[in-house]
């Protein structure tokens, strides 16, 4: 069935909640007293962005935006790994 009319109403309303959450995450990124706090916030921000891209893909009715969601989820994980290695060894490796 055609669900475009439901999504036209639903996605802008739910986007407000996501944008408030992203704003609070960004406050913690800018304010964070230590570096691991900032990394944790950017991690949450990245996974949040993956969901937001999925919602935009439904809203605009195109299927190619959803590929970016997979890449952003992988990027946030790789970011964690490299920052942790830098904390322990003080180098990023070859």
């Amino acid at each position: 069935m055609n669900t475009q009319w439901i999504l036209d109403i639903y996605v802008p309303i739910i986007s407000i909640v996501f944008i408030i959450a992203v704003t609070l995450y960004i406050i913690r990124v800018l304010k964070g007293p230590t570096v691991p706090d900032m990394v944790l916030s950017i991690d949450c921000l990245g996974y949040d962005l993956a969901v937001f891209i999925g919602l935009l893909s439904l809203y605009y009715g195109t299927s190619f935006l959803i590929i970016g969601s997979l890449m952003i989820a992988l990027w946030a994980f790789i970011f964690d790994l490299y920052i942790s290695k830098y904390f322990l060894k003080k180098e990023l490796g070859e």
Binding site: M1, F18, R28, P36, L40, Y47, V51, A73, S84, F87
Partner: protein
Amino acid sequence: MLIVEEIVLGLGLVLITIGAICDLLASIGLNKFPNFYVRMHAATIGTIGGAVIPLIGVGLVALVSDQLGTYKYMVFGVSIITALLIMIASPTGTHILANAAHKAKLAPVQPKVVDKLEEAEEK
């Protein structure tokens, strides 16, 4: 047949709403909690409750959206794969970050009750 599609659509929208509420609670908790190790609890709500559950909801909504054409199965599949990937990758990343931050002594345990890992390393 139409009833089943409406139930799936409603379930997807409810899952996205639960995810948005979890995300809001996690961002408030990340700003209110006192130190890094307590903030990791809020980060877990923000990644599992705020990313895995709404991505499954996006997949269910895409499964009944006929305006996407045949590509609705592609949106469904990629959403479910991303949800499973986040479910595996996010706890791994958080644990490895906490381990590194504790070993490098970057995040002080400021309102401290007990720190068994520090006591074990001192021995």
